[in-house]
Symmetry: C2
Subunit: 364 residues, 2 copies
């Protein structure tokens, strides 16, 4: 794309919507969606995109149109929004715990086919309670931690113990395993999966019908774990500076930018954007600086106030002036989208509409 | 307050609203509001609270009821929400720049009496343009940076140059100075203010009718700068772990907690809360850990995923179990509220309602 015309587009966004404003290039989104769908097809596995990145049925419909089979939600509240929008095959990759959530999960089962995910006996009991209340069988996958030290059982024997609890709880179907393999973690994940699979077979359980891998930064390993049936990627739909740093995307694959205005200078080597931590979030993604300014890559967003992005312009031969409009590629796009009520959509260099972030803030 | 009854309240919140859930203790809010109002009264200055913390006309009405004179907004979009709610005396402590914002500022002038803030000639011209378009005079204060290196002119001569631009722009009233004195910065701020005041007098301008100081962490210096007419504090309404660390509040003054559930353990010294960066934000406020768990102060929230808070429980003699409900005092409450659509309100240990965060996400 011609940088000048892109720049004109940012000016138009600023004039029509004001800044800061998150803008999504639908051409890039479609290319990102098509690319991952193609890779899943080549790997012979299903694509179950994680909606935590876009939180919008509009983008999920684009993913489904391209061939995605079902969606992944992180929180029950997200699943409710997507069920309302007509999505039915919803994997919730999160322990659902507590009476209020059990009641909501039971209600969700009336209008969708959720798949629950568990890594502990309390979550197994909660899933069984919801299924009993709904009068239906709830498929459940076991979340396994094969090295990231996030959520999930940390060993295959623990996974087998959870499989036993699922078998014995009643109203639950043992559906398989949920993995988020660390980068370079194919071998260790394979051993874990094989051992957990053998253990669950020994319990008289059927072979897993779902072995779900996840992540965008680790797409290089897509389909390399034997037995994988599907993949859950989220960030790929928009990409961000973290994905570029991880080698999972190029800057040209980044579909979301925040259009911002230089609103103050404060000295010859300083500058201030009207986008701070309430716009770009304080999540650095362990990168230097809080985002990349496309027009001034040598500028550094070195700190935030809530509504100020503080720039170090000492590396800029021709620094921006007050009033200049710039585009920022965020470090971590998922948390930026979660700050927005709507995204401005463009196609072919034209503004084509606004897309509500329907599940924004659905943390519960 | 009896810790057990507080704990029961958190359980009730979890049962009725699900977790994570931000809960505000209105008794504490009222005490915080009364305390600051009393200090402003003693100092002989007006209280113009900054609404960026609560973003809700409900809390602003409580502040007004207690004696606040006007409000402060950081962004024009916040001012619009509060004008709709009937607030008229609104200081916008932010450079308003760009045609879209100029048009909105002109419209705001039709239904409210905004005061603009500027630190550069582009913002002066924008304010004049809005005022001309509204056919009214717009009061303008000059933002001065007396040491924080945030926004604002960095020297008194620069402030005088801006005062001259305001005088010459037409349709603008030079109203005074906007300060955010650094902690311990009384003397340097006084010198800056005196020199800028003398310079603006030499331009034939009237004495400043507004000299506005700001901040909660620097309340110890309230009214100590000669000429101060008002103070803008935001965080004091709820307080947070940063304010406690700064000595500006005690833990008992913290009115907002996030009720969360332990949803996973992952090993004997680990634990996972259902509150991650999309709930508590990645803003550490330069403190260790991402929040204080009241029931387990020795637990450390050492990292976040978007929906996971990762706990180091190695310091806990009796660590929490999966399913346990806890209360978290956030590091920086302003950015947490901005992630929420509503806050659950309690009074006297009872849930009394929900308060919408009406200006949430009004970044533009």
């Amino acid at each position: 794309m011609d940088p000048l015309s892109t720049c004109r587009l940012a000016q138009t966004v600023a004039r029509e919507f004001g800044t800061p404003c998150a803008v999504v290039d639908l051409d890039r989104v479609e290319a990102n969606i098509a690319r991952l769908q193609g890779r899943c097809r080549e790997a012979g596995i299903a694509n179950r995109p994680h909606i935590k990145t876009h939180k919008s049925p509009v983008f999920a419909a684009m993913q489904r149109e391209a061939g995605a089979a079902g969606i992944t939600c992180q929180k029950l509240g997200e699943a409710e929004i997507f069920a309302e929008a007509g999505f039915t095959d919803i994997l919730i990759s999160y322990n659902i715990i507590g009476d209020e959530k059990i009641a909501r999960l039971a209600r969700l089962m009336e209008r969708a086919q959720p798949i629950a995910s568990v890594d502990n006996p309390v979550a197994v009991a909660a899933a069984a309670s919801a299924a009993r209340s709904a009068g239906r069988t709830l498929p459940v996958v076991i979340e396994c931690d094969t090295g990231r030290r996030r959520a999930g059982v940390e060993s295959a024997p623990e996974a087998v113990e959870i499989a036993r609890a699922i078998r014995d709880a009643g109203h639950l179907e043992f559906a398989g395993f949920l993995l988020y393999p660390p980068e370079g973690g194919v071998a260790v994940t394979q051993r874990f999966l094989d051992e957990a699979g053998a253990g669950s077979r020994d319990l008289g359980l059927p072979p897993p019908r779902i072995v779900s891998t996840g992540g965008t930064p680790n797409l290089a390993d897509l389909g390399r774990i034997d037995g994988t049936t599907e993949h859950r990627a989220g960030t790929y739909v928009f990409n961000d500076r973290m994905m570029v740093a991880a080698g999972a995307a190029t800057l040209e694959d980044c579909a979301l930018t925040v259009v911002a205005t230089v609103v103050s200078r404060g000295g010859p080597t300083r500058g201030i954007l009207d986008a701070g931590s309430k716009t770009l979030s304080s999540d650095t993604g362990k990168l230097d600086g809080f985002g990349l300014i496309l027009e001034y890559p040598e500028a550094r967003i070195h700190a935030f106030a809530e509504e100020h992005g503080f720039l170090d312009l000492s590396g800029c031969a021709a620094p921006p002036k007050v009033g200049d409009v710039v585009r920022v590629v965020p470090n971590h796009v998922c948390v930026v989208v979660n700050l927005m009520d709507r995204l401005v959509a463009t196609r072919g260099g034209m503004i084509v509409g606004e897309i509500p972030v329907a599940a924004r803030g659905r943390i519960s």
